[in-house]
């Protein structure tokens, strides 16, 4: 049954408190709505207080002579009906008994012994980071910790483009290839194929074979200097010769490039071989990324007859090896030279391939 206080009434617009003159009920007494239950004094006069409710007096919470604020309980009724409005208008709760009969359980000391987490500078959690929903989703998909992402925009909001790729590296790699391949359109290029046969031996290991081919090809273009030129922004300029090798990596085919300086040395050979083996593991040093002036694409291990690959800036030439046969000290292969037509003509290419044939034979029979 609900407990309903009978309170110090507001008897005039100016009244804020009143004096309890007389309480006319006792605990256990039943009262009806409209019964006079108390007398209170205001600054003007003494007034009778009527009960608004029917019920039994369960507690007297004031005494004659006390000055109470308007709204403070005079006594408490236990009523039958439910007060549907209870608590809705900030009704005063019945006053707590003056003395506690039961001591409250002591607060266990363990509760305060636990260290409080620092609140002044909470660690950035994923929810408090400013991020576009799409960026958040992407970070989740790619397993990126969004609290570690640095936003690039002035607004400081993390966007999709701020999330570093990790999970979908193949896609990213493919996108990069697509972008690079598009640039090939700006080079007018031609190709020319020659069959080469000679007595000698080419390495079976692809990396070592690359060294042999590179030595012959770099020797060739060093004597046919047109092929070391580049046509950039409307003028011709000699290029620093850098040779790219086609390598199959877990992300697809990559073409790390290596500077041709010192190509005759053993050190260069070792460098080239280690470049190719780490590229197979998809590890390419920054210095070996891009900027090839020429390339060697050796697809012979796939039984390819000939290939005609594209040139990408700043590349001005490239050779493709196919139809390779090596047995009993006899070598046969097809080489396709792709060249930037702006730096050389097909006739120049034919002459260059004659030189290449001769140099490759020397390399194949030489000390390397």
């Amino acid at each position: 049954m609900p407990r309903t206080p009978v309170v110090m009434p507001k008897m005039s617009m100016t009244m804020t408190e009143g004096e309890v003159v007389e309480i006319l009920v006792t605990v256990g007494q039943k009262v009806s709505a409209g019964d006079v239950v108390a007398v209170v004094g205001t600054d003007k006069t003494d007034m009778e207080v009527e009960s608004d409710h029917e019920g039994e007096v369960v507690e007297i919470s004031s005494a004659p002579g006390q000055v109470l604020e308007v709204g403070a309980p005079l006594f408490v009724l236990e009523t039958e009906g439910e007060d549907l409005l209870a608590g809705m208008f900030g009704d005063a709760e019945p006053a707590a008994p003056a003395e506690e009969t039961v001591a409250p359980a002591a607060i266990p000391p363990a509760a305060s012994a636990a260290p409080n987490p620092p609140v002044a500078h909470p660690p950035a959690d994923a929810q408090s980071v400013l991020a576009m929903p799409g960026a958040r989703k992407l970070a989740e998909e790619w397993g990126v910790d969004i609290t570690q992402v640095v936003p690039a925009s002035p607004a400081g909001i993390i966007k999709q483009s701020d999330i570093p790729a990790s999970g979908s590296r193949e896609e990213k790699a493919r996108e990069q290839i697509a972008t690079v391949v598009n640039t090939s359109m700006h080079i007018p290029q031609f190709s020319i194929t020659k069959q080469i046969k000679f007595k000698g031996k080419l390495a079976e290991d692809a990396a070592e074979r690359f060294v042999q081919l590179a030595r012959a090809w770099v020797g060739t273009i060093r004597s046919h200097t047109k092929f070391t030129q580049q046509y950039v922004n409307g003028s011709f300029a000699p290029a620093n010769v850098r040779v790219a090798a086609l390598v199959r990596s877990p992300l697809g085919y990559v073409s790390p490039a290596i500077d041709a300086a010192g190509i005759e040395t053993d050190a260069w050979k070792q460098k080239a071989i280690s470049l190719i083996s780490s590229a197979k593991e998809n590890r390419i040093a920054v210095e070996n990324l891009g900027d090839a002036s020429t390339s060697i694409t050796d697809l012979s291990e796939f039984g390819i007859k000939s290939a005609n690959t594209l040139l990408f800036p700043p590349q001005s030439s490239g050779i493709n090896i196919g139809s390779l046969k090596v047995d009993n000290h006899k070598v046969a292969l097809e080489v396709t030279l792709v060249a930037d037509h702006r730096i050389a003509d097909p006739g120049d290419a034919a002459e260059a391939l004659l030189t290449f044939e001769q140099l490759l034979r020397e390399v194949a029979n030489g000390d390397s």
Binding site: M132, P133, G134, A135, K137, S153, P154, A155, I157, K159, Q160, S161
Partner: protein, 329 residues
């Protein structure tokens, strides 16, 4: 065949004339639409062509006008109400909201209210606070009403004819500044589909949804921005209720950026609905920038011409806001 160019006001009049010729149940009623020709000259010579029974001048009582139209619609007529200024629909809201929008549903679908209510909205004519509001959100919020906002002479005719075909009450909100603008309008009676947003320009960088006069203003901004290499897609929802989100979502998926332009005050404006719907669907994951709302200020439209212009988005505001979105600020 050369494209015929007429004004927005002429396009509305042509649509009404063609509807009246095709269907004897179509008639028009409103204040000063007879020999005076309408407050904005839209009805023009219609009273001479169709007579005073079909182009009815009414007393100055918006509640009475719409009440009469609702009654006529219930008995099988197709009334076209003209309210001189959309601000005055406030006088007629009980008939519009509690009667026209509800009757079909409260009578178990037995009756329909095929009423079309045309009203000019918007600022820019020096008509001050009580004659310049953009109240489209009021109507769009009431189930049972359809709401269209023609943004060009072509749409003015096409949407009005579509509204007349519709068995529901349709509110047609015409922008005052557009009445004198011209554009290509075919002579035959064609319809624009209500409930189909229209992509009026395609660009890869930023999706802009605009309504009313803001559509042409945004198209101008798009031309300026294109010169600076920023390509806008501009989408005109045409009908606010029902709203077709498909082209908007599809475009946001491509551009990753969304700007919403309305003349009405920003607070609880119609564009908030579009922003909310984008955020409810998969398109939200395509957004690379927060949604930008460009809207009128939350103030009554001032009378002073400079102030009147400054409280609603103008061409330079749209250009600047689009650049802000592109810069990510």
């Amino acid at each position: 065949m050369s494209e015929r160019i007429i004004t927005y006001g002429e396009a509305v009049r042509e649509a009404i004339g063609q509807a009246m010729e095709a269907d004897p149940s179509v008639f028009m009623l409103g204040e000063d639409i007879g020999v005076y020709g309408g407050a904005f000259g839209v009805s023009g010579d219609l009273v001479h062509r169709f007579g005073e029974d079909r182009v009815r001048d009414t007393p100055i009582s918006e509640l009475g006008i719409v009440g009469a139209a609702v009654g006529a619609a219930l008995t099988g007529m197709k009334p076209i109400v003209e309210i001189q200024f959309s601000d005055f629909t406030a006088q007629a809201m009980d008939q519009i909201v509690n009667q026209a929008a509800k009757i079909h549903f409260m009578l178990g679908g037995e009756l329909a209210v095929p009423m079309v209510l045309r009203a000019p909205l918007g600022s820019g004519t020096g008509a001050a606070a009580q004659h310049s509001q953009s109240l489209e959100a009021w109507f769009a919020h009431v189930p049972g009403l359809k709401v269209v906002m023609p943004s060009s002479p072509y749409e003015a005719k096409g949407l009005l004819l579509a509204a007349l075909d519709d068995p529901n009450p349709v509110i047609v909100l015409e922008h005052k500044l557009l009445y004198k603008t011209s554009g290509h309008v075919p002579e035959e009676a064609y319809r624009s589909e209500i409930g189909k947003s229209k992509v009026v320009r395609e660009g890869k960088d930023l999706t802009v949804v605009a309504t009313g006069v803001m559509v042409s203003r945004t198209l101008e901004a798009a031309t300026q921005l294109a010169a600076e290499g920023i390509e806008l897609t501009v989408i005109d929802p045409r009908s606010l209720t029902p709203l077709d989100m498909d082209p908007i979502n599809a475009s946001v998926a491509q551009t990753g950026r969304l700007m919403l332009v309305q003349e009405a005050p920003k607070h609880v404006g119609y564009m908030a609905e579009i922003a909310a719907r984008v955020s409810e669907g998969p398109a939200i994951y395509s957004l690379t920038e927060p949604v930008k709302r460009l809207a009128g200020l939350d103030v009554p439209i001032p009378y002073a011409p400079q102030l009147e212009k400054s409280v609603v988005p103008q061409l330079p505001d749209i250009v600047a806001a689009a650049k802000d979105v592109m810069r990510g600020v």
